[in-house]
Symmetry: C2
């Protein structure tokens, strides 16, 4: 998802007039039925979710929600990419991930948002009132186990990031990060792999725990060596093999 020409999210999703129409067919047409959180659900459960979901759009650079705010909603990303980050006590910003289609944002049992989310491009999401979602969880144990499992998946990804961060060298760090990002953006058809969104270097820096300068120099080297190339709105992977080698060069 979020790859190739991005279908421009329909603005009218926000308007009450089209709300019902959107609602009733929300899951039926969604390409995510086979990806991420939704793919773990039965048709029946998806119908229940669709019942209480609302389609919303978010322009590039806008903030979806902020850390610490009361958690009124949870979201499933349908299209586009967001950066997720936490503000640390010392003021540092820690980017904890990049959300893509299929990802569930926020944990329904948490009463406050534990991170902030900004759109990196135009984003299209399913929104659920947290209370509605909780109600469903209570009625549908299957949904609850799906939640447990994807939370554990997130934990696995967090541990992956931990491994990345304790890497000492900048190049393999970068290479591993890019590989993971390319892979998570991969669609069966698209070859070679591409990241269809321009991820600011500052965000990569705050994800990998390095400075922008180092991120920039490291990426510049990869570009010079024709391993990746920066396109107008994203990144292309030119040489998987060499990127893998660098990733393992530690």
């Amino acid at each position: 998802m979020a790859s190739g020409p991005v279908a421009s999210p329909r603005k009218e999703a926000d308007s009450p007039r089209n709300f019902f129409a959107e609602k009733s067919r929300a899951c039926g047409y969604c390409e995510l039925r086979s990806k991420g959180f939704c793919s773990r659900l039965s048709e029946n459960q998806k119908a229940l979710l669709a019942e209480v979901s609302r389609l919303v759009t978010l322009e590039s650079h806008k903030t979806l929600f902020r850390q610490g705010e009361e958690a009124d909603n949870v979201y499933v990303v349908r299209n586009g990419m967001l950066r997720l980050y936490q503000r640390m006590l010392d003021g540092r910003r820690q980017v904890i991930g990049f959300a893509k289609a299929g990802d569930l944002l926020l944990f329904p049992f948490s009463e406050r948002n534990d991170y902030s989310a900004d759109a990196l491009d135009s984003v299209y999401l399913c929104q659920f009132r947290r209370q509605d979602f909780l109600g469903l969880l209570q009625r549908e144990p299957e949904l609850l186990s799906a939640l447990a499992v994807i939370t554990h998946d997130e934990l696995t990804r967090a541990r992956y990031q931990i491994a990345l961060l304790s890497q000492r060298k900048a190049e393999p760090k970068m290479a591993q990060f890019l590989l993971a990002l390319f892979e998570s953006c991969a669609r069966p058809d698209s070859n070679p792999m591409a990241i269809p969104v321009r991820v600011p270097q500052a965000d990569i820096a705050d994800y990998l725990g390095m400075t922008v300068e180092t991120v920039n120099r490291t990426m510049a080297r990869l570009v010079r060596d024709a391993i990746i190339s920066v396109a107008k709105h994203g990144l292309d992977l030119l040489d998987v093999k060499r990127l893998r080698e660098i990733a393992e060069s530690y």
Copy 2:
């Protein structure tokens, strides 16, 4: 837990003869009823768990389970401390945490262990056959939501570690780590705070992504400055205030 004089785990827990006796009163006497995973459960659920739990002990330095092995059991720590770690592709060892009383080890839905666990001192655990645990989860949705919540708690801790790792300076990194460890070992009565287990410097190094040498020098400085002191079997916190200052000095 795991603080003060550690009640030496009863060996006979392993013997079939005492097994039943142990089983029937497992939760009734356990101090953990008000801590960690178990504290989230009703009396009824604890009874169900006790039904299928088995008390096991593990000597210091022994391995409880290994990453990649088929997951036959899950555990709840009752006493003692373990190090949890993953082996990375490049051979590096990443310590992902230190488990203490009340912590659930392994995710019941995972068919393979996603990390290894070694005892840092004598450890006393409740063991559950994974299939039994899964059965309970299926029958008891409350248990399932407790699982989701503690998995999310672990995710929160992982993100804390992420923030730690992207710290550049060794001193605040160390200070923050120690503070968290002291706090997680704190018991209402014990004052000043103490970590009742000797955590090898190599483990700290692999947790914080630094070398043993740096860990050693950084800790040596803290000891010289009378902020902490190394006891025979653990660490004592002498000056919380200054340790906090260092932690925030970034």
